[in-house]
Amino acid sequence: MFIPHTDSEREEMLKTIGAPSIESLFEGVPVKHRFPQLNLPPALSEMEVAAQLQELSQINESTRDLVCFLGAGAYNHYIPAAVDAILRRGEFYTAYTPYQPEVSQGTLQAIFEFQSLVANLTGMDVSNASHYDGATATAEAAVLAYHHFRGKRTRFIVSPAVNPQYRQVMRTYMDGYENLQVIGDGEPGDPLGAFEALTRMLDANTAMVVVQYPDFFGRVQDLSDLAAKVHAAGAILTVVINPTALALFKSPGEMGADIAVGEGQPLGIPLSYGGPYLGIFAAKKDYVRKIAGRLIGETVDQQGKRGYVLTLTAREQHIRREKATSNICTNQGLIALAATAYMSLLGKHGLRQVAELCYHKAHFLAEQINRIPGFSVDLTQPFFHEFIVKCPAPVGEINEYLLDNGILGGYDLSQDYPSLQTHMLLAVTEMNTREEIDLLCEVLKEYAND
């Protein structure tokens, strides 16, 4: 281990703060807790560790080994090889914010393109340079709304059809604020209910309403009427989006939403437990100064040449000091770059093609499953690439059966929604072949006949 301080420097520092020794600095920690006995196996050589890790990793089964119909917020899409090649260029390969931003013109330009693409996709005026993931981006929208109303509106209405993890993170973020009320998704309640249940809760104290589009169950609903009602109450409408879906459906901006947030993982980011993923955050111009993180702008230098600058970091620590209401030091710069490369490589038509493939394959599968005795799908509501299957047995049991047949089944909705026992959420993407869809139906039929 390299420690830059010399003994004499350490002596000097201890003298300055009046401590006799380094050990004395830890007096607050009871002796028995300072060096606890750790239950560790004997030390291994690097070669042995590598072999052991290799062995462990082979127990994993990934989407390369299994047929995947699991979604619920993270989706198995094809990632063109060029995305990774661009990402790994030495000039780009850092997750960190450029602290002397203007010398990093390439990074700034990539972020600028990312913002433009996201704003375009969501129908919003501005996008920031990204958040950690969809959950933290959603929570940041709540923080924005709180400050927008100077803490005077304290009711936050959240649809039960918003990703349960996002709702949880939002509650964690809002925990320290006084007198805040996060309502709308409590039990008992109908998680599949209409927006009316939410609009009935609107009052003059409501800061924000959060819905998801397509919602957690994959359903797509027009938001225009909801937006009008939210605005009539003077509140902000935040919509959690799936970027792939927006290549096909009307954008939240067009339907009157004020803020669009979401998970950017479908845009060329591999599925991985714990991320890194990508938080999307876009808003109407009215809220530009209240957005967390950073915003890159395009300008010209003294000689009239195009250049990029860090235009706005209005809520951040290095501008607002102790009054900062955000500290997004490490945005997902590298992941945002991957999304930018993905969107640029696919282009407007390519992205739409991906969305259409997802849509049609999902609808084909839904119809097939609906014909299997014991299973049913509500085909009356418009949906994108994910839908609920009502099953004849607990989802966990069915998923075990599927896994034995090499299929990663759907999400068990009873984990988050007690009223949705035996309800499975299935996702279909362009990666699912006709053969895979047929296989899933065959195995489900077998299960039903067993």
Partner: protein, 130 residues
């Protein structure tokens, strides 16, 4: 540097005009010249709000920095200069006139004693420019 003698001043560079129990506050000429061009102005309080001494009542941003405007005295906000959110340049061009920030009906007159007069503020500004 313009430091009108009929006003009082704070260490955080607000000016205060006392008119009975109503005070008008703003940003001093020294502060605006240090900040340079203002590009944004936002209120943190509304008329009717109770404020305490040193509470942030507005924030502004210049091309160089972000800064807060603090209430120099405790009381109730009776009026705010809403036009500043659009015409924030006034902070640079007319800090003691068009750029008044807000009026407070003070509740603790004793706090007035803590303010500086023009001579005191001038000395305070000079001290900092060295």
């Amino acid at each position: 540097m313009n430091i009108p003698t009929n006003l009082k001043y704070t260490k955080s560079d607000e000016w205060v005009k006392v008119d009975g129990n109503i005070v008008t506050i703003g940003v001093s000429d020294y502060a605006q010249s240090q900040l340079s061009d203002i590009v944004y102005f936002e209120f943190k309080v509304d008329p009717g709000d109770a404020v305490h001494k040193d509470q942030t009542v507005a924030t502004l941003e210049s091309v160089k920095a972000a800064a807060d405007v603090n209430a120099p005295l405790s009381g109730n906000v009776v009026d705010i200069n809403e036009s500043l959110t659009e015409q924030f340049e006034a902070v640079n061009t007319d800090p003691y006139g068009a750029a008044w920030v807000l009026k407070i009906e003070i509740s603790k007159p004793g706090e007035l004693d803590g303010l500086m007069d023009a001579a005191g503020y001038e000395a305070y500004c000079q001290e900092r420019s060295h």
